[in-house]
Symmetry: C2
Subunit: 195 residues, 2 copies
């Protein structure tokens, strides 16, 4: 598949997933949004599930590209990552929310669906490795205290995850704002940054 076609299909899958959620999304919805034929989609992806797994891999690639900035101050880079996870990047907040609502449906399938589970585990492991690397760089630079970096990364990511789920399931906008303050003021600046 040429890169341009792939990019177009992935963008259309992302937008339709945000709009329709996981359960009611069809290959036809994606084809319509993509302005391509359903048979073209099926030529590249057997099922809706395959398409969504490819989307998760695509989003991971994009995350890795954006996160690859090793010349920033480690504290600022870590805060930037946390803010991206909580509020989205260039995307707007309502789109970020729609995406995480759909992603929650997908996660709820994972205990019974090995394909989703494997890709979610892959995304999870890579994001954890990226956050861990930033913390390790901060420790090496003397900017952070000598903490357990993988554990601290897991802690930040679990809190982000829990806050997003509270936000999308209960509709509490303050959930992500409160956790943003807790993670930046209490964990990063209050505990992690070296005196």
């Amino acid at each position: 598949m040429v890169e341009e076609t792939r990019e177009r299909i992935m963008e259309a899958t992302y937008r339709t997933l945000c709009e329709y959620g996981y359960a009611s999304l069809t290959m036809q919805d994606i084809a319509d949004e993509c302005d391509c034929s359903k048979s073209l989609l099926h030529y590249h992806f057997d099922t809706k599930e395959d398409l969504l797994v490819a989307l998760l891999a695509h989003l991971l690639e994009r995350f890795e590209e954006r996160a690859d900035t090793t010349d920033a101050d480690p504290r600022d880079q870590l805060v930037g990552l946390v803010e991206g996870f909580l509020f989205g990047d260039e995307r707007n907040r309502s789109e970020h929310r729609a995406f995480h609502t759909a992603l929650l449906e997908l996660r709820a399938q994972a205990p019974h669906n090995e394909t989703f589970r494997d890709q979610l585990a892959e995304n999870d492991a890579q994001v954890h490795a990226t956050v861990t690397a930033v913390i390790e760089r901060g420790i090496d630079a003397g900017r952070f205290r000598n903490v357990d970096a993988p554990r601290t990364a897991a802690h930040l990511l679990a809190a982000v995850q829990g806050a997003r789920i509270r936000w999308v399931t209960l509709g509490h906008d303050t959930a992500v704002d409160t956790i943003h303050e807790a993670l930046v003021s209490d964990v990063i600046d209050g505990w992690l940054v070296a005196e």
Copy 2:
């Protein structure tokens, strides 16, 4: 409804939910487990949804009863709460996992289901109030630093939630163990407890 009947129905609903998950659970499954007629169940609860909402309220009541121990050391009480959230109480770990797998399915319905959303919000608010009260008691007693108690409670609960979801969706048993260490060693004993 007499209290004994209610207790029996709630126990049966809990066990069948753990066994079958949310989607495939039927009123007949619950009646079979309860050793009562489906018509008795329907007499008290119109739908499976009503029964599950009643179960969430019942579990909240039980949590509140257990959490009502104001003579314990605030640090130990807070650690006990975190451990209960992560590992379950008197229940075994595989049952705790089965319950949280089913609860995740239920949460994934909440954005589209007001009845679930309202009850989940109620449970969430009460648990947050209980954890906040323990932190406030610790601050008043000079055991904890003078932190923002509601924010710290939200932080602990978000991390617990995120870890449990990672555990049930990806099957990583270490997810809850790592967050246990992070919350007890780094947040509670490393940051919250007064020097």
